[in-house]
């Protein structure tokens, strides 16, 4: 990730749009990728990216440099994505996990079609996880954050963070049981 120089951060914090543009150009790729991982939907990811950078613009003056700007930005992205997912979940309740089990069961040898089915089930399962479970599992599995770092990003203790990941994996195993 590009390291944004301090003077750019200071100017952006003072409301300088040019400096903030530079900051967006430097970091948008990573914010987009993370938002996409968490929302699993390009349109939702765009919304999260937009909302994230607006929050960054408003909060930049309060950025204390206790953590790196990268970590601070990711924390805002994760929180924004989780808020977004929770809102969306309230508006469009997800299918219960059992719904996956009611799908067609695999028969015979594992073939290309079955591979596609596994992919589809895994994708659907990820979408059906709670925002917390999805965020914790995605940050661990796809982004490579340690459990402690995820705890810091999600403002959770290590234990709560582990439990969120365990629950997510248990649901995943359940959804993929026929192929296990």
């Amino acid at each position: 990730m590009n390291k944004t120089p301090d003077h750019i951060l200071q100017r952006a914090a003072a409301g300088d749009h040019q400096a903030f543009r530079q900051l967006v150009l430097d970091h948008s790729h990573h914010v987009q990728r993370l938002a996409l991982r968490l929302t699993m939907d390009p349109s939702s990811a765009d919304d999260v990216v937009q909302e994230t950078f607006l929050k960054v613009y408003r909060k930049l003056g309060s950025y204390r440099r206790e953590s790196s700007f990268h970590t601070w930005l990711h924390r805002i992205t994760v929180n924004t994505a989780m808020d977004y997912l929770r809102r969306k979940q309230r508006e469009e309740p997800a299918l219960p996990p059992e719904a996956i089990d009611s799908q067609q069961q695999p028969q015979g040898e594992l073939c290309v079609l079955e591979q596609a089915e596994i992919r589809e089930r895994a994708t659907r399962l990820l979408r059906q996880l709670s925002p917390l479970e999805r965020s914790a599992l995605s940050l661990r599995h796809f982004e490579g954050y340690s459990i402690r770092e995820i705890g810091s990003l999600l403002q959770l203790g290590d234990s709560a963070c582990k439990q969120a990941i365990f629950r997510a994996v248990k649901k995943l195993r359940h959804a993929l049981e026929p192929w296990s």
């Binding site: 749009h17 390009p42 765009d46 440099r65 596994i118 459990i147």
Partner: protein
């Protein structure tokens, strides 16, 4: 007796976050444990199959969407050094730095103040003909004032106190400027003039200073001729040789 290894611990092992350093060896030794670990690994590997539609990854497009939503840019932004100083994290350090600057300034004032004139160095301040012209103008002004002073009567009225004050300030400046130069007569005259101006500004009885004012007026006229001779016919008024 060996403890049972839970699926949770095997998940942590998959991500390399297990706490027991002997666990990998134990899993490799025990077939049942190995089978369970392989099962968990296969399940988690399915996540890698998940495909997420890509975005444009166009940073400029992100900015184009974002820019209209930003609040208007403030008309003037603070200087970066001021932002740095005013950061809450640094407020203590900033305050300490300011205090240090003040203390240093006071120290400088105490150290050098009384021994140094409160005006620029004469040879710096009095470079060029223009500066000589200022002195000549002051002498003219002072001469006019002294003339008024000497000829004050009930008919002419009192001197304008603002004029006296202004002249006093100007005279103080010139007196200090020439104090360290080799011009004793000018220095002495300005000194005496200041005495009269000061007493007048403080509304002292005029009669007591009358003889002195006559002497100063005389001295001023002489000096005025020296520093600002009257222009000859067809010639611009020019300034005499540098006074300092």
């Amino acid at each position: 007796m060996k403890q049972t290894v839970s699926d949770e611990v095997l998940i942590l092992l998959y991500y390399g976050e297990h706490e027991d350093p002997d666990l990998p060896a134990r899993v490799a030794r025990e077939p049942e444990l190995q089978r369970r670990f392989d099962q968990i690994s296969a399940t988690l590997a399915c996540l890698d199959e998940v495909q997420i539609p890509a975005t444009s990854n166009d940073a400029e497009a992100v900015w184009a969407r974002l820019a209209p939503a930003l609040p208007p840019q403030p008309p003037s932004t603070r200087q970066p050094w001021l932002n740095w100083l005013l950061q809450p994290r640094l407020s203590l350090a900033g305050g300490a730095a300011l205090a240090a600057v003040f203390v240093f300034a006071f120290w400088l004032g105490g150290r050098f103040g009384p021994n140094q004139p409160a005006v620029p160095e004469p040879d710096m301040a009095w470079q060029g003909a223009d500066l000589n012209r200022f002195l000549a103008r002051h002498l003219d002004d002072a001469e006019r004032w002294l003339s008024h002073y000497s000829n004050q009567s009930a008919a002419t009225g009192a001197l304008d106190p603002q004029w006296t004050r202004r002249l006093l300030n100007d005279n103080r400046f010139f007196r200090l400027s020439v104090a360290s130069t080799e011009q004793p007569r000018l220095s002495r005259t300005l000194d005496q003039l200041e005495f009269i101006l000061l007493h007048t500004a403080n509304a002292s009885p005029r009669q007591a200073l009358q003889p002195q004012s006559q002497r100063v007026l005389f001295q001023l006229r002489l000096l005025r001729q020296q520093y600002n001779p009257a222009p000859r016919a067809g010639e611009q008024n020019h300034v005499s040789p540098p006074i300092i």
